[in-house]
């Protein structure tokens, strides 16, 4: 169900293949520019990822091509885009995945377009963090720098680290039809981060405090379990289980 991509020695790329890239082009800064699809052709090389291909296209064919990347290793979350209908990270997608050699690249929907394949996920993530207060709210009286810190239970730490793996790439937001229909919906990334603090024993917020933030149509009760987040998350985060956990937790406040 999830499309996991771990490069192996067999993924060396078929030598001599010519790839066709259909890339969405539009620069909102340029007056009179209209959105269009532009076709590029490129020779495949062993181990080629979409990220490598894009860099070569920009170096060799069209220096005006806009796309984001930093780490090229699936850690920074910058290079997310829609590749042949699936939102994912360009740096973790091998060109060998596409036997026909036809690759269509679109920017992530649901975010402000900077240009071509580059979208402003940062602005969205910052607004989300401010709105949901995605930082630790220490318990009362636990802010003394002179007191010895309590050691965290290793199991709890492991649970938190699992959720901390989110790289804020924006794929879950783009893959979510609910989010596309309802602008104010917090999406899987918002719920994931809230869950992270809800699980943290150091956080002083009560379940009622969390209900106040996500106990509505923009929060966990707006989620229709379409599972676009679960099926497309490039970090394979447990969105389905996590959202179900929050839903149960929030519904339990009725009792």
């Amino acid at each position: 169900m999830t499309t996991r991509l771990i490069p192996t020695v067999t993924d060396t790329g078929s030598a001599g293949r010519r790839l066709t890239f259909n890339i969405f082009r539009f620069d909102p800064q340029e007056n009179g520019d209209k959105p269009k699809m532009v076709s590029y052709s490129l020779d495949e090389t062993p181990g080629m990822t979409i990220f490598i291909a894009l860099n070569r296209l920009r170096d060799e064919q069209d220096s005006s091509l806009q796309f984001d990347f930093v780490c090229r290793a699936g850690i920074c979350g910058s290079c997310a885009m829609v590749i042949n209908g699936l939102p994912t990270l360009a740096c973790r997608t091998l060109t060998t995945r596409y036997p026909k050699g036809e690759i269509t690249l679109m920017p992530l929907p649901g975010f402000e377009l900077i240009g071509d394949l580059s979208v402003n996920t940062g602005k969205f993530m910052r607004q989300l963090a401010e709105r949901l207060q995605l930082w630790l709210h220490p318990r009362e009286g636990e802010q003394s720098i002179h007191a010895l810190e309590q050691a965290m239970d290793p199991d709890e730490a492991a649970r938190l680290y699992e959720l901390e793996r989110c790289v804020e790439c924006g794929v879950c937001v783009s893959a979510c039809a609910t989010k596309q229909m309802r602008d104010t919906f917090v999406g899987a990334v918002g719920l994931m981060k809230i869950a992270r603090f809800e699980l943290d024993s150091r956080d002083g917020r009560s379940v009622e405090d969390f209900y106040h933030v996500i106990g509505n149509q923009d929060g966990v009760f707006g989620c229709m379990t379409l599972l676009g987040c679960q099926d497309n998350c490039p970090k394979d985060l447990p969105h389905m289980q996590q959202i179900a956990y929050l839903r149960r937790k929030m519904a339990m406040t009725l009792l």
Partner: protein, 226 residues
């Protein structure tokens, strides 16, 4: 009591109500179809089921109380309303939301989003057809039986209502149960989800087959009723 019905918890109530009423309706639907399918065992069997559902074993003359069926119809209508109100809120109600959904489904290829689309679509069909069905049955419960139902379905043309309703409701219910299980976290593993999805399709197909066979089985009884 005032503390119990907390209005700030409105959305939690709605969500729980939608899931709970959906599960109850699905259980009712499948039971209902199995009872109706007694026609496949012959007219006698179906007549016995109809009598028993009207609690004939409680009445001295063995005729039972047809109004029990009307009561059930009213109950189902109530449940359906409780289910539809929260569900409607999640539908794309504005043109902008429609456009967003269309663009999304066009640009991103995702099976479960398509499933939901079908669920929303069939939900709309049910919303239109279910009241008619409930009225037909609830207002004339005494006619339920091999001849009466056969006459209604084939001579009076109720098959035009039942055929789309059967298809819509069997798709809607199985997809809904699949979703509700995932929604509340009853299926933990991703493997569970894969076989659950297969099971859902199987259940839909099975009940559609039973429903179609039952509709056809009423055919021989239709000309007998005047």
């Amino acid at each position: 009591m005032a503390k119990r019905l907390n209005l700030t918890k409105w959305y939690a109530y709605l969500d729980v109500c939608q899931s709970l009423s959906g599960v109850l309706l699905a259980v009712f639907l499948w039971t209902h179809l199995l009872l109706v399918s007694s026609i496949l065992l012959g007219g006698e069997a179906m007549a016995w089921v109809a009598r028993t559902m009207e609690l004939s074993f409680l009445s001295a003359d063995g005729q039972g109380y047809p109004w029990v069926v009307s009561l059930i119809a009213i109950g189902v209508a109530g449940l359906a309303l409780v289910h539809a109100v929260p569900a409607l809120q999640k539908m794309p109600l504005t043109l902008r939301q429609h456009a967003a959904l269309r663009t999304q489904m066009h640009s991103i290829d995702h099976g479960d989003t398509r499933l939901w689309y079908w669920q929303a679509l069939t939900g709309g069909v049910i919303l239109l057809l279910l009241p008619v069905h409930l009225w037909l049955i609830g207002s004339a419960p005494e006619t339920i039986g091999p001849q009466g139902s056969g006459h209604r379905i084939w001579a009076q043309g109720a098959w035009l209502l039942y055929l789309p309703l059967l298809l819509a409701v069997e798709l809607h219910a199985a997809i809904g149960i699949y979703r509700v299980v995932l929604k509340w976290g009853a299926a933990r593993g991703l493997d569970t989800r894969i076989w659950l999805k297969k099971l859902k399709t199987l259940v839909s197909l099975l009940f559609i087959a039973i429903g179609l066979a039952s509709l056809l089985a009423f055919l021989p009884y239709a000309p007998l009723a005047g």
